[in-house]
Symmetry: C2
Subunit: 480 residues, 2 copies
């Protein structure tokens, strides 16, 4: 018989029908006459309860071999459940063990494991409630991103992962090479002869698809990228990964206000999609977070997850300039009382996470979009304002996360862009293609980047970025 | 006024309404009293015709500065078109030049450019009919892949790009490192001390997400990957890229027949999606292909593109074993007449593209799925058949393309898998996590890989893989 997924059985299976279920045993409990197996197949956070008659020699022998982690197949009769907390349960008629799991060796036992331990067995953590809930939620967010942009007529562009340009400027890069690492070919002056490498030049892993994304937008109007990006930075924190996924829309004919509107609309769409499509997983993750935080003093606990998500939907994001933000921060209590680790003393300083969180969580009590930052602390490609001091940057700040989106209107004026490239000592000759889009049919345009794992932290309520991506890449760690 | 996309105006704009259009000039034609500008904004293959009154000094001066490639904004009145081939055209009332394009410098003139030339200006080729049609089609295929799997309850998994394992076995790899290339730290024995590199070990770019995908499937039942993969092979052909995108579904509880059913269903879904959502672009690409092939002798021309796509939908794929295929090939005319470059002489030889195309295009005249290949020519993870000689591999062969999908049922038996790993000298210690999934709750499972650019070649009718990805990466080429 064709197997039916457990999600489907629990939601709409007809009591009285014969079905086949396949999955992995989460727990086994016994009473005098029957054994209860909780079976999960990953289609839902919920297990189906399988009831096995013990007064049957064959079953008894099988049950002795069934432990947590074993895979089994059950043909049986779906019946209304008396007390398992589910609508239906399965009365086993034919039980087959597909694969055993020796309880002395299998690392996932029915007890609470630490997240740190689960990272060490990332090949098996998909089999836990927490990580399966996160993986389903992550899938839903991936699909929602594509659906949001597709429905609006944006085109997904695959920008290159291996890049020959090192002017993306967003951070340290990983080199990509096929040279014998001990004996790379050298030039007469002792430098490495990159012309002999695979691509005929020095190449790295991309830190952003933005520059190539702009090329496509300046022909096709509205595009987005969704791909892996890389930072070779030795940051061993709960917020940094060496390999992470970014979503980068770029839109011709958008100014910074259109850009902010799109970012706010997208974030609300994604949060709404999660609430409408992943409620059971969100409820589980909420409970998990509350248990974890029950140790903390009341005032350090996060807002309940689902309440927090609804809060984003219900409020317009505050929109203020960097200059206004500095003003608020300088006058703020924590700044006056010297409670910030980095005191805010003058216009021009870069904002730290503590400042961003103060604005969002204490001052405005909702998401905030900051605009018009000093040009010195922002990238070369941002459009310069008439004041000569600021650029049309925009950062979206979220509770608990800080910056979740960074973007800007792009400088579309050839001369201004070229000057800025020269001022900032960016290798001009590597940028010919980027500059040419401002030379031929240039238009006002804007875009932003959303770090996908930052979004995942927000919607899942998890505290460490290594727990929202299947196989995290961090300093000294590329296992699996 | 908010701009309206050209696609929307051409499809459903009301004659008599005032609208704003923004886009790039494709051509400018003039007559005594009016000028005609063909404007494109990337939302559709079709241009909107803008009619400008020349008997107006302001317009005359502007028109003198407008050439192919310039970006303009037009407010005007949408009117029923008399003869432009479109339903509506735009009578310009207010014309603004956003960005000029000097005709002496702008490389894209209104004439036929070679595909080779366009690759050299990949930053601008999005502005051509051919490449914008391909990009819209590529987006539609990306979205269709996600929609197909999402609707079936599959979860998208982001498998790692940087991998510490070199046992994926699909080809030569690119090394990823942060070492100073001239002076990597050495061990006493003279070898490179990888422990000091960023990840504490030697790392490469992935050639496949399959092994990690299996880990997820063996907990969540049905998953798929869709990400970039890499081959450091010096293949300068029209069929190979160093960086390309792969779709790799992995399914627990699927045998090889379920696997074939899914592959056939998916390919038909994607082709149907293209026909239903991209007809105008397909018609353009079909015409393009026919013009290109009009030079060739009749018997070397491809089937017309749309006819070819419908042909895939209308026919069940032939399913035969490798052994049957060898039999057919050995008895075939081209083999008897020694017309194959690689004669088929005995069971066990690997099939070449010419053999695959003979089976598909000449013998069966429809897509073919070949199964049960000799184990010697297939990967270690494929499930061994009872005959001891073959494995449950399956390759889907398409007209014009050859292999478009490669997959198999996976070996789920721990002992058999371990033996095969040892026989093939795959470093066992690096595979502990993969092996453990066969130790704990193992189940029958299957999967396959679809090279996304191979699919794009098929649905677009293009001949060179460098023309179906925005920024191709090939030997000696990582520009943009």
């Amino acid at each position: 018989m064709k197997r039916t997924k457990i999600k489907q059985l629990l939601e709409s299976g007809d009591a009285g029908s014969k079905v086949t279920v396949k999955g992995w045993v989460r727990t086994k409990r016994g009473s005098k006459n029957v054994a209860f197996l909780a079976i999960n197949d990953g289609s839902t956070i919920n297990n189906i309860q399988v009831v096995v008659d013990v007064n049957n020699n064959e079953n008894e022998a099988l049950l002795a071999k069934i432990h947590t982690g074993a895979s089994i197949s059950i043909d049986g009769l779906l019946t209304e459940s008396q007390g398992s907390g589910q609508r239906v349960e399965l009365m086993a008629e034919n039980l087959i063990i597909l694969g055993e799991a020796n309880p002395d060796e299998y690392p996932l036992q029915p007890k609470k494991h630490s997240l740190e331990f689960l990272r060490e067995i990332a090949h098996l953590r998909f089999r836990t409630n927490t990580f399966s809930a996160i993986t389903r939620l992550r899938h839903s967010m991936i699909f929602a991103v594509h659906k949001f942009f597709n429905d609006k007529g944006f085109l997904n562009i695959h920008t290159p992962i291996i890049t020959g340009s090192d002017c993306e400027g967003a951070g340290e890069m990983f080199r990509v090479s096929v040279f014998d690492p001990k004996n790379p070919p050298l030039l007469e002056d002792g430098n490495v002869n990159w012309k002999e490498d695979f691509f005929g030049k020095e190449t790295n892993l991309t830190v952003s698809g933005q520059l190539e994304g702009e090329l496509a937008a300046l022909a096709l109007s509205e595009i987005y990228t969704f791909g892996p990006t890389f930072r070779a930075e030795n940051s061993n924190t709960s917020r940094h990964l060496a390999e992470f996924w970014m979503i980068e829309p770029e839109m011709a004919f958008y100014d910074i206000n259109d850009n902010m509107d799109l970012a706010e609309e997208m974030l609300k769409y994604l949060v709404k999609y999660a609430l409408e499509n992943c409620m059971e997983d969100l409820q589980f993750l909420s409970k998990r977070q509350q248990e974890e935080e029950s140790q903390k003093p009341q005032d350090q606990r996060s807002m309940e997850l689902i309440e927090k998500l609804k809060f984003v939907l219900d409020n317009d994001f505050a929109r203020i300039s960097y200059t206004e933000a500095i003003d608020i921060l300088m006058k703020s209590k924590p700044n006056q009382k010297k409670q910030f680790q980095y005191p805010v003393e003058k216009w021009g300083t870069d904002l730290q996470s503590e400042h961003e969180r103060f604005l969002v969580e204490k001052h405005f009590k909702k998401p905030v979009i900051l605009t018009d930052y000093p040009k010195e602390i922002k990238a070369f490609y941002m459009k310069q304002n008439e004041d000569g001091k600021t650029v049309r940057a925009m950062d979206v700040l979220f509770p608990g996360i800080g910056e979740i989106i960074g973007g800007s209107q792009r400088e579309e004026n050839y001369e201004k862009l070229l000057n800025r490239i020269r001022e900032m000592h960016i290798p001009e000759k590597d940028m010919w293609w980027y500059l040419e889009t401002r030379k031929f049919g240039t238009v006002e345009h804007s875009g932003y980047g959303l770090g996908f794992e930052r979004l995942m932290l927000f919607v899942s309520g998890m505290g460490n970025i290594r727990d929202v991506i299947p196989f995290p890449r961090t300093p000294k760690n590329a296992e699996f």
